[in-house]
Every structure is written in C-alpha cells, then in structure tokens.
Subunit: 185 residues, 3 copies
C-alpha cells in the first residue's frame, strides 16, 4: 500500500516537473494566426489629386511636398490611407485601410521607417493591427513589428514580413504583407 502511495506521489511530481520544464524552455516560434494582405499606395504628385491615396507632408530644407526629394528622398514624410486587398489587384474589394505614415531615412539608398495601422471594418474582420519598424525597402523581404491590436486582434503581437509586389516610378507601389501573430488572446 505504501508503495502504491509512493507511486502516486512520484507520478504527480513527474507531471508537475515536466510542466515546470515547459515553462522555462524558449517559447515556440509558431504563429497563432497568419494572414496575407496587399496594400496599394498612390502618391500625390501634383497631377493626380483625384485618385492619390498618399501625400508628402514634410520634407527637408532641400525638398518640397509635391515631388520626392533628392538623396533617396531622405527626410520626406508621407501620410497615407491605402486600400487593403486580399489579392494583388488594386481593383479588388478593399477589406480595410492601411493608415499612418512612412518616412524615408537614408541618403545613400532607399530605406524607410513605418508607423501605421491596418483598420478592418467588414463583416468578416473588425478591429485593427498597428505596425512599427524599419523598412530597408531594397531588400526582397523585411520584417516589421506588430506592436498591438484591437477588436478581433485584441492585444496581438507579432511580425509582418513585407515585400514589394510592384513599383511604378514614384507614383504607385504595392506591398505584400505576410502577418504572423505570435501572441493571440
């Protein structure tokens, strides 16, 4: 009988022990949610007021707010309200808007810093995700941080892998956004 009790005790301690070990180990890097979206940026250039979704709002002393400045646009700040689509077609139904700003921040090559949100308000998706981080946009892919979320994405955190899906001169670009959330509530 004492042996049976000891077995129970050992079994219980083994269970508790393995649970403690799991807590100490590194967290698994498997997304709890993954989604892919495209968003489309049409920059105001003095002639496209009708369909522009973005505008230069600040520039260094040597630039202006109508044309992207020299030196790889260093210092230009752009505010945007870009449609988000499920596929790479600008004319597909928008499932939300990408809203916020980006700024070009290097003289030698194109790089940017991003602060923006995806705002969803459809029957299938409600809420927002907010992103921030460096975008070395000449790289094929680059990661920015998902720093928060609301609604369907309450308290979310994760990584968004951006890739430039199309680029037409200085007026239009389309970014593929592969969102991987690692904290889901």
């Amino acid at each position: 009988m004492a042996a049976a009790v000891a077995a129970v005790l050992i079994g219980v301690l083994l269970i508790i022990g393995s649970s403690a070990a799991a807590e100490a180990a590194p967290r698994r890097r498997r997304p709890c949610k993954r989604m892919v979206f495209y968003f489309h940026d049409i920059l105001y250039n003095g002639k496209n007021a009708g369909n522009a979704t973005a505008a230069i709002v600040a520039a260094p002393a040597w630039g202006n707010t109508t044309i992207l400045s020299g030196q790889n646009h260093f210092g230009d700040v752009v505010v945007f309200d870009d449609p988000i689509t499920r596929d790479n077609n600008l004319h597909s139904p928008a499932v939300g808007r990408a809203q916020g700003m980006y700024l070009y921040d290097k003289k030698e090559i194109f790089t940017a810093w991003l602060g923006f949100s995806f705002v969803f308000n459809s029957t299938e998706l409600k809420g927002s995700l907010t992103f921030a981080g460096a975008d070395p946009l000449m790289n094929k892919t680059r990661d920015v941080s998902v720093i928060g979320g609301t609604g369907d994405f309450f308290m979310a955190r994760g990584i968004a892998t951006l890739s430039t899906d199309a680029f037409e001169g200085e007026v239009y670009f389309r970014l593929c956004t592969d969102i991987k959330l690692y904290e889901c509530w």
Copy 2:
C-alpha cells in the same frame, strides 16, 4: 484503501488537468489595472500663441501650418503637449502631460493616427504610458493600443478606449481616455 488512493490520484489529476486547460485556453480579458483620464488639446491657429498646447507642423502641398487643410485635414500633422486631468475640467490640476503627435489620414471623413505618451510626474504617479494606433474619431468610442510603459507602468500593455468629450470648432477638443492594462509587471 486502494479506492482511497485512486480517489486521491483522480482528484490530483483533475486539479492539474484544469490548470493545464486554463493555460491552453484564451487568456482572460480582465484588466489588471484601469484608469480614466482626460486630456485637452488647444490647437495653434495664428492668434492663440499664449495658450495653445498643439501646433500643425506639417501639411500636404495644398495646406499650410496655420490653418487645418481641406479634405478633412488629410495630411496635417500636429505636435502636442496637452495637460492631463482626472476630470473633464481644463482648469483642474494636471496630473501629467500627453505628448506626441497625431496626423489626419483620410480625405473623405475625419480619421487620425496617433503616436504619443502620457508622462506622469506627481507624488501619486510616476512614469509613462505610450500609445499608438488608428483613431476613427467620428466614432463614439475607438480603441488604440498601449504599446509600452515605464516607471509605475513598467512593461505595461493594454487598450485605451478614447471618446471625444468636447469639441469646439477647430481649436479645442477634449478626449476621455479609459485605459485598461492587461499586462502588468
């Protein structure tokens, strides 16, 4: 006796099992801290230099930095240093300052994107909370993310529900900020 041991074993496993289930289930959405504040924004308009707490600092090509631009202020960027009060009275003692920026980011209606901090430095509160996210300001309430904190709010994360408590033309607005922290250290 064997029955008694079995009962102990079953009881223990039930307790451990429910604990494991709780860990796998979604985390509870009950705030670990909740606070309500108001902050007050008085926008510089060319005539109120003395008491303005905010100023337009960037605007699109069709705007300027003295008057909010057309098209629902799309592209206007505002820097602010607004007093925070416990109640909705601008003249109540300030418990801190709301500092940072907002930008208007839609041509068709009023929406904004926010990046700012609450900076506390009183006997009761020390430290800061930092906020980011989309503010569809025509909605009665809207959620932005609490993305970090320092001091009393070390490592905090959560949600702030904003509501416009007053709005006087384009010079003054007051936001009620219902802060719910879900990560407290």
Copy 3:
C-alpha cells in the same frame, strides 16, 4: 494508512498551491538580455550637408527646416539615420544605424518624443529593435519602451535607458542607450 494518503494529498496541494502563487506574483524584473550602445546625431544646419545624419523636416508656423525654432524647438520634427557604436567614439566602427524620427514637444523646456529603430546588419548582430516613448531630455536618465524586435531580437520587449553623453550646441549630440530586454523569445 489513511494518514499517509492525507499527507500525500496535503503535500501535493502545497506544491500546486505554491505554483499558483508564483504565477500570481509580479514577474521578476531581471533582464533576459542587456546591451549598451551609443548613437550619434549630426543635425543639418544649412552648412554641413556632407556629414549631417539628421535633418529638420517639419516645423510650426513660426519655424523653418534649416534652423531649430524658438520656444525650445516645440514642433520641430527631425528624421535621422545615425551611426551606432559600441563605445562613445563617433569614429568607431558602426555596428548598425539608428533610424526614425524625433520631435520636440514642449514650449517651456526641452522634451522630445521618439519613434525609431536600431537596425543591425553585422556578422555578430542581425535584426532590429524598435523604440517609442517620451524623452524628457533634460533629465540625466530617461526610459523609453522597446516595443518590438526582429531577427536576433525576435518579439523582444523591454526598456531603454537613455542618457545624453555629449551635446555640442545644436549640431551634435550623442546618446548612451542602455537596453534591457525583459521579454526574449
């Protein structure tokens, strides 16, 4: 024998109880990673285009983008791409770049709000850390939030304690950045 079983039961409950208590207690404030870096900001002033790493890109109505404005630079927004070094020597090899923006946000004293990333791309460090928060820069030290990370700093969160290591007029400053991560994956 019944006493022995009771002892097992009590022992098990004590173990489970202390585990639950540990979960409820505040998390330990011991960094999982700590690093110190310096970064160097050389502000464009109309004469130093060659070696400037930063430029004013936005200013209030009473300012401009060549010279920092009066009232403690309230409203001036600066975009930067500053070298990061291991020690306090501007001419040491850069291990990365600090990229993003800061804005001055108080009329009465110097304070700023920061949104930027450290971008590493060396053999020893790859990835980025993103920072946001209030910088009351007249204080000897001030804390801002580490709101996300990528690459080697995947999903990081923490606190960066900033201190001004040098300041030369309105052209050069050097910040010591003591980074303490409390969430490491």
